[in-house]
Symmetry: D2
Subunit: 318 residues, 4 copies
């Protein structure tokens, strides 16, 4: 429920304005010297992805490492870590306690659990993805040892300036590649590399679409256009084109893994919106405070993190 992965696993916990958020990484190999600078840099990428007018809190996200390490070296036991929510100001959210913000998870959480932590999105807050960045940074280190790299970039994004003026927000598309994955990773039936990636990406808030290789564009092609001819390159079998995005039959073919993730716009807009309150009465809501206009720059490191975690997991399943 709050755990992802099979042999390389992350369990996360925490609400946006609770005491702390954090994670437990299980299955990390022992005797690795963790690159803490890299982990901090990844967390910084997540923060600097924010727009200058972001509503995000200003304290640094300082990680407390709780277990699984001896002198910075992994013990093979679970690595637990937390980040405290020191700057939590739940008062800001008091006004939202009894009203459902449109296209947020307020209503669905309350339906599921009978109550919700209304302070800043609670468990559904974007803040709860922070542990994913930490686990992803560790996964990247493991992959780096095998020469594998994960790189995401924004390939499509709405006009931020125009949207900001209107108190509006924009979405966009992130493309990610995983280079040098050996052929043969991924499980054939219900643990396909592509299926595990899809599952991981849809764990991110605001994700509404996912495609591998040429994805939806393949639906318009003919077989003769879509097929990737095998060729010999430098004595190695590879494909002339990469419409398949490096995955065939759910298993990597040695070519670059390519996928794209569609993010809807952030639902917190400064404009008044029609909604309903907990009492079941129609009302209008205007979400106060400064808002992020676009989550995409911040999403890059998250997409990479999950892609790295899935890749390590697939590696360990072989």
């Amino acid at each position: 429920m709050n755990t992802i992965g099979h042999n390389f696993r992350l369990t996360t916990f925490g609400e946006s304005h609770g005491t702390a958020i954090g994670g437990v990484i299980d299955g990390c190999p022992s005797q690795w010297k963790l690159d803490f600078d890299f982990i901090e840099a990844e967390l910084l990428r997540r923060r600097t992805g924010q727009s200058p007018t972001s509503s995000q809190r200003k304290e640094p996200d300082s990680i407390e490492w709780l277990s699984g390490l001896l002198d910075g070296v992994t013990l093979g036991t679970p690595i637990a870590f937390i980040v405290r929510n020191e700057d939590a100001r739940p008062d800001n959210y008091e006004a939202l306690k009894d009203v459902y913000r449109p296209s947020h998870a307020d209503f669905t959480y309350e339906k599921k659990y009978g109550l919700r932590d209304w302070r800043g999105g609670g468990r559904a807050s974007a803040r709860t993805t922070l542990p994913v960045v930490v686990a992803g940074a560790i996964a990247k280190q493991i992959l780096r040892g095998q020469g594998i790299q994960v790189l995401a970039k924004v390939t499509e994004m709405g006009d931020v300036e125009q949207a900001r003026k209107e108190g509006d927000t924009v979405g966009g598309i992130v493309e990610c590649i995983i280079t040098r994955v050996p052929a043969g990773w991924g499980e054939p039936m219900f643990g396909k590399f592509s299926a595990e990636l899809a599952h991981a990406m849809f764990s991110l808030p605001a994700v509404k679409g996912f495609e591998v290789g040429d994805g939806f564009a393949l639906a318009k092609m003919k077989g003769s256009e879509a097929n990737d001819a095998f060729i010999i390159n430098d004595g190695k079998i590879t494909t002339l084109t990469n419409h398949s995005g490096g995955i065939q039959g759910g298993i990597t073919n040695g070519n670059v893994v390519v996928f794209r993730v569609a993010f809807k716009p952030i639902p917190s807009i400064a404009q008044p919106q029609q909604t309903v309150n907990r009492g079941g009465e129609p009302c209008e809501i205007t979400i106060e405070g400064r808002h992020d206009v676009c989550a995409l720059p911040r999403a890059l490191v998250l997409v990479e993190a999950l892609a790295a975690m899935v890749t390590v997991d697939m590696c360990f399943l072989r």
Copy 2:
């Protein structure tokens, strides 16, 4: 690896030209009278989805029920079933034994396992999805008891006639809705309803894209356009629009669940193609026999089946 689901689970097995394919359904409630006619009808939908010139085998897919039933009523124990591959003609495939068909799983399976069942696609054959139809038909019956329906249709497809003449194939898009799912189903972090659907759909051969609600189109919208205002309808909270596709924060909001799946064209085309053989030498391949031009009609029942299975699983996780 070959199991999907948590509390309602399907394990599948079988190669296209092995002795049999089949599945084991675990977690099916007891005391259900199975509607065998409906299961047969669903299997027929899978078959009649085939084009007249299909390469598919002609024997009926007659199910042998092995366990879990007493006088057609479920015992609560695992329901196992098989369908024999009676008309298997592996000789047809002898020519393909040592060559990798482009955009098939021949190469990736061999890289993963060191060998592959070269007879008709082996484990990667579309035939191995048959058990999914059976489990899906049972899941639909369970959902029917709750008034929930799952319906898929083809919304985009290439020109089949034109492609057939050229020995080519086409792909397309399937849209699926799940009606009357109560609000509150789905897990919040790593078992989101959308993530489980994505994972399930990418288990199908040829799937290369998946989107929920307005999906990729949301990436181009502004927040003010994409948000679904809450309204009261017939005394019940619902949303005015359904850009979110019935899922917010990974949890159903009571509106219709809507998603789309992109299928690439069938990779078996009648035209000569460039490839490489197992000895690592470039060669040309022409796949003999009659071919399906489009897998989409057949895919409808598979998309529905997996959607139904995921929905039951989410229901049982609550």
Copy 3:
């Protein structure tokens, strides 16, 4: 629910008098030439473990291999197999349909599922352990490649002759050793080698006790008596004594793994017994037919099979 193992997994299905019983083995390495003679021999050990006056059916247990194999070599895909219940004579059991046999699972299954397959014990029948023997035989082959052996023997058993005369049954104790397991296998906290063995053994019908090393006897010892001193033997670290049974902190120490399993007597006795029927009325029951007096000889191969499966699973988890 009906699956055991993590990376080497068995799912079983089938009722005693249904169409067939069987299993699906997932996670078996590819490119193994299965030793079918050995598997048959193991199944024979299970049968010849029966007393001459056994109630067991007389047909050979002929396995149909359904998937996962090409010319007898494992493909890495799920290996499914079934054994048909050809000689099923449910009429024999008609008298037991409405009455709960003491210390059988009749009552508990009915309470759990609302109905039960009353024909010969249904899913709770000893017959349903047959798939375990098959999976265990394959696990043993994998271990054999690493020089690891699993050997069980009966160390305590009631007097069979005396019991037979009285229409009674006896239980006993099986001791099992696993030789040459390398040090370092087993997970530290909730996947201890000992815990996985305990779980597996309690999956067998009639098992009521399990101990590792000196087990319950250790409860009466002092630390100075119970501790295993480390010594050097042939240049290798080992222990002078093996009170721990080869497992310390849940992880193998390189010494022989030793454990014992207590089996209660078979509950089907020829004497009249007090019980209750489905209508909730007290009644007397006499179980007709010839009975096994002791299940222990038959249990040997089952204990070995599960021990082998756990050992392979622990090996694959590293």
Copy 4:
């Protein structure tokens, strides 16, 4: 690996002398007001179980609740908590850094991971069971709502006074009952109630034996003695005797669940012992400091905690 349970799950982390130990409870129902006094009382039971001359640290185990709660009420999201290791004095253990304590997990951890946290037992320390007490206390609250109680007592224990004088330690046996479990809980094949209990108990350090009902004594009985006759009592079906310990065919029969757990003596004794150091040379070790003579009083709350967790998990699996 460090997670136990299916639908009610605990993940634990932490080394004895790391920064903190803790746990994440997933699957706890929402809208429960946690009884913190009870949780503290259970932790106190764990501590006061210690002998007056205990080596245990003196700081109170004060829990920091990190997530999953709003005003003391469960949100349905993961409940994470930590206890800091404030009084950690790793210097005390410097002498043990390079030597393997007999019958401890020093050697096996090092073989598994290539290194170990030598400070006070690291991950294998008894201290790491603290999170189990917390999760168990929450599980007990859930069971209390159904009228179910879990009660353990020491039924056999060595002579503590005599052992203390000799710098020795003793083991013993804990018996536990679970009252008022409804009939029908437990999974039939590989998730038997008894198997899940066995697995859970063997997760505790020093456990070497487990039996249900009359356990090993059943091995010496005849069927006519061991069978539990069904009777009607107060209009309800129950059994006249309870040799089976409330579990038949792996499923509860409504009678009291009874099981016993054998603990070996604590391996840390004050006497000099023969061992080997990390360099592979024989040496003698004397473990300094004050020692616990017997872990049993402390074990009571742990046995109860795990039994409660298993019972809740079986309840949620139905």
